[in-house]
């Protein structure tokens, strides 16, 4: 389906707190042909230049509200809308250095129809 487009090239930049880079942001889009409740996001992995980040490092922003992965697992009445960004804030003290990055992502939704279905994409993006 939309597997090739799960990594969005929008807003790929560092996250700051009190003038210090504490992590970075990456936006994802869904691989499925419809939106899903947050609880049906089964797993997410982001790999930047070989460094792997898991859901423990991530905070998710949907419709302007921030959630940990654990919180999302229980939320079945709020949807990540089809085609919309899932903003992922990833903890990394010092952030990333600007420039070209090889970004890989595993986006894994779950439903009754397909079970667990993993999408993988890789692209080169310039980090702002």
């Amino acid at each position: 389906m939309f597997d090739r487009f799960i990594i969005h090239d929008k807003g790929f930049r560092n996250l700051y707190e009190k003038g210090k880079a504490v992590g970075f942001v990456i936006n994802a889009r869904i691989n499925y042909y419809r939106g899903i409740p947050l609880s049906m996001i089964h797993d997410v992995k982001v790999i930047v230049d070989g460094e792997c980040f898991t859901t423990d490092d991530m905070t998710f922003v949907v419709r302007g509200v921030r959630y940990s992965f654990k919180e999302m697992n229980e939320i079945s009445n709020i949807n990540w809308h089809f085609g919309d960004d899932l903003r992922i804030e990833i903890k990394k003290p010092g952030g990333l250095k600007p420039g070209k990055k090889t970004v890989e992502m595993y986006m894994t939704p779950r439903n009754s129809y397909f079970g667990i279905f993993e999408a993988y994409a890789k692209r080169t993006m310039t980090f702002a």
Partner: protein
């Protein structure tokens, strides 16, 4: 455009998913595009194109009906999905599934649709006969029909759909939605081309098409293909997917189920420049639908985008135009 025709042309907005995903078209743009194509009935997957789903406000409902009026179209059907895998650590109970179904039925009613599409649970966890029995009173209460979609690899004539037919015989609020995927007489070229771009050999594809035409079973085909060609992994995947998920049965079988068929998904993987679908015999299917005395909508559902993303941009609008034109030619309007 609203008409008094017995058979009405519709479209599932699913057909515009490519444009919606990339934000070339929003919901209203899709409805306007459908109106341009002379479409009368609108079908929607709520969690695909209703941003507020599942918490749909009255304000949205007002806007929806405003759009229906402005563009001269009618709401027909929503596509609902039973979810048992809602949570990571536990299965959803049957009571929770009924609650979610009630939510769908109420939404269908508010949107002005007459039908909620559900999926057969053949060896799976979708709409089981047990769940259907529990949902039915709620559908009846709201005057909404539950449309069980017969989609490949399921088919009309499959003994596994019998428990559902028994429920249909008892209540007019359960019906069949026939998806044209069950009438696929060859593997669509868009799929073959995809596999060939990824290394599948022409002679292997030709062999597969011959086997498909001769209605050979998946297991036998793969064994024979292995002996003949020593299949590459990509070719093995091609055989496994195409012989497992596709289906061909004679369209005339619909006549045996005519009283129960209340909606159609006119599936296509592509309509060529001459307005022909080379994998699904539209003229023959439409002939049968007319002979059945069918009254209702035929909703175009275009799925060709799945196999092109590796190579080129998919023009879902052009495909929808051709697809509707093909149906227009067969209906005469």
């Amino acid at each position: 455009m609203l008409t008094n025709n017995d058979i009405k042309r519709g479209i599932s907005l699913y057909s515009f998913q490519e444009s919606y995903f990339f934000k070339r078209l929003d919901l209203e743009d899709c409805i306007a595009a459908a109106a341009d194509m002379g479409v009368e009935g609108i079908e929607i997957i709520p969690d695909q194109m209703i941003y507020e789903f599942p918490n749909v406000s009255d304000d949205f409902i007002d806007k929806w009906h405003g759009m229906m009026e402005r563009y001269g179209v009618r709401p027909v059907c929503i596509d609902d999905f039973v979810e048992s895998n809602l949570y990571k650590h536990r299965k959803v109970s049957i009571d929770e599934q009924v609650e979610r179904f009630i939510r769908a039925v109420k939404l269908a009613k508010r949107l002005g649709c007459f039908l909620v599409r559900e999926q057969f649970a053949l060896g799976g966890e979708l709409m089981t006969p047990e769940l259907l029995e529990k949902c039915l009173p709620h559908a009846e209460k709201h005057g909404i029909i539950i449309g069980m979609e017969v989609h490949a690899p399921n088919y009309l004539g499959n003994p596994e759909i019998e428990p559902y037919m028994k429920i249909m015989e008892k209540s007019p609020y359960v019906a069949l939605v026939v998806d044209f995927s069950i009438f696929m007489h060859t593997i669509p070229d868009v799929i073959n081309q995809y596999y060939m771009r990824h290394g599948a050999r022409q002679e292997v594809i030709d062999f597969a098409l011959e086997c498909y035409k001769n209605k050979m079973l998946g297991k036998d085909v793969i064994e024979e293909a292995h002996k003949k060609f020593k299949l590459l992994p990509i070719e093995e995947r091609y055989f496994k997917e195409q012989f497992r998920f596709n289906r061909y049965i004679e369209p005339e079988i619909m006549k045996d189920y005519a009283p129960f068929i209340k909606h159609f998904h006119a599936k296509t993987f592509g309509v060529n420049e001459n307005l022909v679908d080379e994998a699904i015999d539209y003229p023959r299917i439409f002939k049968v639908i007319k002979e059945m005395g069918y009254k209702g909508y035929i909703s175009g559902e275009n799925e060709g985008n799945r196999y092109v993303h590796d190579a080129f941009e998919y023009d879902d609008i052009e495909q929808a135009i051709r697809h509707q034109k093909l149906m227009e030619n067969l209906l005469g309007y």
